[in-house]
Symmetry: C2
Subunit: 470 residues, 2 copies
C-alpha cells in the first residue's frame, strides 16, 4: 500500500513576516484558501490507493498539524513529533518504521509540506511510474524539468535509462552558479532536485543500514520507545537526538546503487521566497499580485498583501514586495527578498518576538490575538473552538475580565461553574482557579481584559489540561 | 499691539495617511514633539509684545485647537469658527474685526498654521521690519528667499525699495514651470510667496472695502451676529457663506497700492508633501528619515514612519516614502507623492472613511480607538481627560461593558451614580441613560466592549452635553 509521508518540520524564515517560527510557511494559505500543508495532503489523497497521511513535524507545530488535517476532513495516519530537527534522513526513517508497523510491504511517497504543484495530473503519472520502479526495489527521486536556469536549487543528472521512463541517478549537484545552471538547462539531462521520493519503506531502511547505520540505529531506538500523546506519536528524545543530522540526499541517495530518477514537469515550486511566490501567482495586467485591501496607482511587478482591517496604498513603485501583518510590515525590492533572513537575524539578536509569533497565536483550543496593550493592562480577543477547553489555571499577577461576544462559554471560577452568553461578562480575580470551555457547536468569541502588574504569557499555573500541557 | 492670527482652516490631504480630514497636517507632530499649529503659536508668542493668538479654524477642529493650545499653556485670544471654508480673505477679515473689537489700533501677524520655520531669529528680524512698514500703512507680505527652483510655490517679484529693507510688491506670479522658476532664482529679485502677512487690521479692512467690498460686508455681518460657544466664537453661518471665496492674494494683495514685501531667509517650508517633509527632516548618513520601530537594510533616501506597536522592515529600497498608521499604510516613490491625493479621491469615491478619520478619534473629552471589531461587537480603548465628561447619552442598538484599566471613572447608569476603579467593570444595558466622567487629576483609561446588532457612531442620543453637542 502507498503511504504519503509529509515532512512538515521546516521553520522557514524566508517568508517573514507572514511566516513565523510557530506558524511557518507550510501552514500558511499562500496560494488559495488552503495551506501548503493541506494542499500537499489533499494532492496525495487524490492519488489512487493512498493510505491516510503520516506527518513528521516539530513538537511546537503538533496542534496546528492536527487542526489543519481536521479542517480538510482527512484521517490521520500518524503525526510523528521530532524532538528536534535532525534533517530529512532520520525523519523519513521514523516514518518508515511507523508505516512498516502496520503494513510490512509499505511503500512511501515522501513529500515536503511546503511545495506547490500546479499540474496534478502530471504529478500523478510520475507517481505511477515511480511506483512501478519502487516495486523493483528502486529508491526513486522526482526530478523537475528545469524551466529556466535557477541557481537556488540543486540539480540531478540522469544516468542510464530504466523502464517506466525512469533513469538511474547520474549524480547530485549542489546549487550551481548561473553559467553552470544555464549549461544544465541546455544540456537537457538535468532536473531540479524536488525533495520528493517514492520507495518501499523496507528498501529505504536497508539502504540506510548500508550507508548510514547510525541514523537507522537512532531512529529504531527512538521509535521503539515512542509513546502516544493524544493524536501524536512522541518518539524517544535522547534516542532521536543521538542521530547524526543529515539529509536523505547525502545519507542515502548519493551513495546507493538503487537510486532512480523519474523526471516530471508539473508546475512545481518550493515557494522559497516572496519573489518565488510572486512568480507563480496569478498576476494582473500590471504584473501585480494583490491580496487584501490594496489601492495601487502606477504600480507594476509587485506583490502586495494587506492584512485584515488594514489598507495598503502604493504609488509609482515597481518590483516591490510589500507584506503586511498586524504587527510588522516588510517593504523589499523583489530581487532582494533573500535578505529577509537578515531581518529575522536582527530580530533574534535583539531578543524580539516578531520572528517567533504572530500577534494572533494558535493554541490547541483555538487562538488569541493581543489587540491592545498598556502599562498595566492587555486586551485579547479569544476564540475557543467547539468542544474545546482551556486548561484549568491560575495567574499570580493578573486578574481578568471576560466579555462574551459570540457563542456560549462555560466558565469555571474557583467553586462555581456557570454559562456566560453573548453580551454577558464575568470577573476572574487574581489567584482564582479558572477554566474556559466551549460545550457548544459554534465557536466562542470573547474579549479578555487583563489587569495587573505583570502580563507575560509565563504567568500561568496549569492545574489540568486536556492537551497534556499541565 | 501685535496680534498673531493663525489660519488653521486647512484640511490637507497631501500628507495622507497621517493627515486626515478630522486631524489635518497642522495638528500633527511632523517634526519634533509639537504639532505645526503649536509650533506656529509658540513661534509667534516668542516675539516681543505679542498678544494671545487668534485662531481661525473649521468647526470640526475646534476642540483640537482648544486642546493643543491648552497643552502648550498658551492663553487663547479667540478661536473663530468658519462655518465653511471661504479661503483666506474672509477668514482674515473676521480675525481683523475680532482684534479691532478689543484693540482699535491692532496690528496682525497672519500665519498659516501648517508651515515650518527653522531660523526663528531671522523670522523675528523680518517681523520687526514688517512692523515698521505696517505703521506707515503698508500691507506686508513675507517673501522667502528661494533656495532652489521650486515649481510648487507662487513667487513674488520685488518692486522699488522701501525703508526697513522692504520693497513694494512688483507682482505676484503663479506656480511657474521649471525653466521659469530657474530664471526667477537666478534673477535674484523673486521670492517664494509664504502666505504670511503683517498689517494693521484697519488697513486690511480699508483695502478690503476698496478691492473686495462683498467680502468685507459678509465678514462684518457674520461677525456682528457672532456668539460665544464655550471657548469658541461662532460667526453667523449664512452671513459668512454669503462671502465670495477668495484668497487674500487675489482679493487684496495683487490689487492694492499698499502691498509691501519683506524678504526673509528663515528655513521656511510649507511641508506640502511627504517629499517636502523628507527634505527638511534630519536624515541619517543613508539619507533616511525614520520614525518609530524601523529596521532598514540597504535602504537610502527614504522616509519611513512606523506607527505604535508596529514594525516596518525595509530591504534594498531607495527613495521611498513609507508611512504607516493603525489602519492604512502608504508606500510611494518619493517623487510621486503628489499623487497621494489620487488615493484620497479614490477613498472619497468609494465612500470609505480612511481619509476622514484615524482609527483613534479625538473628542473634546479625550479620545477613543477602535481596537477590534467583529460581526456583532466592537472593542474600543477610551481615554477621558481629567475633569472631562462624555455626554449623558443612550443607544438604541447596543449594550456596553466597561472595564477601567487606569484612573477612577464616575459612571452614571440610569438612577445610579458610582465610581469605577482600576480593574473594576460595569454593564450599560441597551437603552439605559448613561454618562462617563473623570473627576480625578489623572486620565481615565477604559476598555469598552460594545455588543449589538448595529454599532455605528450615529446610534447615540445625547441628552446633555457640556460641549454643546446635545
Amino acid at each position: 500500500m502507498l503511504h504519503p509521508v509529509v515532512l512538515s518540520g521546516g521553520s522557514g524564515s524566508r517568508l517573514w513576516p507572514l511566516s513565523r517560527h510557530n506558524q511557518p510557511k507550510q501552514f500558511l494559505a499562500l496560494v488559495g484558501d488552503r495551506s501548503l500543508f493541506q494542499e500537499t495532503v489533499l494532492r496525495a489523497g487524490a492519488l489512487p490507493g493512498m493510505q491516510p497521511p503520516v506527518t513528521v513535524c516539530s513538537d511546537g507545530h503538533r496542534f496546528m498539524v492536527g487542526e489543519q488535517l481536521q479542517e480538510i476532513g482527512v484521517p490521520n495516519g500518524g503525526i510523528l513529533l521530532e524532538p528536534a530537527a535532525r534533517n530529512t534522513a532520520p525523519a523519513i526513517a521514523i516514518a518508515a518504521l511507523h508505516v512498516l508497523a502496520s503494513d510490512p510491504d509499505a511503500t512511501m511517497l515522501v513529500m515536503p509540506a511546503d511545495h506547490l504543484i500546479e499540474d496534478e495530473s502530471a504529478f500523478r503519472t510520475a507517481v505511477e511510474r515511480a511506483g512501478a520502479l519502487a516495486k523493483d526495489g528502486w529508491l526513486v527521486t522526482f526530478g523537475i524539468h528545469p524551466d529556466y536556469a535557477e541557481t537556488g536549487y540543486g540539480y540531478i543528472a540522469r544516468g542510464e535509462p530504466l523502464e517506466n521512463e525512469g533513469y538511474r541517478v547520474g549524480r547530485f549537484v549542489e546549487k550551481p552558479d548561473l553559467v553552470t545552471a544555464e549549461s544544465y538547462v541546455s544540456d537537457g539531462t538535468y532536473a531540479w532536485n524536488s525533495g520528493m521520493f517514492l520507495f518501499r519503506a523496507q528498501a529505504y531502511l536497508e539502504e540506510l543500514e548500508l550507508q548510514a547505520p547510525k541514523i537507522l540505529a537512532a531512529a529504531k531506538a527512538a521509535y521503539a520507545v515512542a509513546e502516544g500523546d493524544l493524536d501524536f506519536i512522541r518518539v524517544g528524545k535522547d534516542e532521536f537526538l543521538s542521530s547524526p543530522s543529515d539529509s536523505i540526499d547525502y545519507a542515502v541517495m548519493e551513495r546507493t546503487e538503487r537510486a532512480a530518477l523519474v523526471p516530471v514537469s508539473c508546475g512545481w515550486s518550493d515557494i522559497g521566497s516572496w519573489s518565488s511566490l510572486w512568480s507563480v501567482a496569478h498576476r494582473d495586467d500590471q504584473g501585480n499580485f494583490h491580496e487584501g485591501d490594496v489601492i495601487s496607482i502606477d504600480t507594476t511587478g509587485s506583490l502586495v498583501r494587506a492584512s485584515e482591517r488594514r489598507l495598503i496604498a502604493t504609488i509609482g513603485v515597481d518590483d516591490l514586495v510589500i507584506v503586511d501583518t498586524p504587527d510588522a510590515t516588510l517593504v523589499a525590492r523583489k530581487d532582494r527578498v533573500q535578505d529577509v533572513k537578515r531581518v529575522v537575524e536582527h530580530l533574534k539578536d535583539a531578543g524580539r518576538q516578531e520572528h517567533l509569533f504572530h500577534r494572533k497565536v494558535y493554541r490547541p483550543w483555538g487562538n488569541y490575538d493581543s489587540i491592545d496593550m498598556g502599562a498595566r493592562f492587555q486586551v485579547k480577543r479569544i476564540e475557543v473552538k467547539p468542544g474545546a477547553s482551556l486548561s484549568l489555571q491560575k495567574h499570580h499577577k493578573r486578574a481578568e475580565h471576560w466579555v462574551v461576544v459570540s457563542g456560549v462559554a462555560e466558565v469555571t471560577c474557583d467553586d462555581r461553574v456557570f454559562d456566560l452568553h453573548e453580551n454577558e461578562s464575568t470577573f476572574i480575580p487574581l489567584g482564582s482557579v479558572h477554566r474556559l470551555r466551549n460545550r457548544g457547536t459554534e465557536p466562542v468569541e470573547l474579549i479578555e481584559v487583563q489587569s495587573g502588574s505583570y502580563l507575560g504569557e509565563d504567568d500561568i499555573v496549569r492545574l489540568e489540561d486536556v492537551y497534556g500541557r499541565s
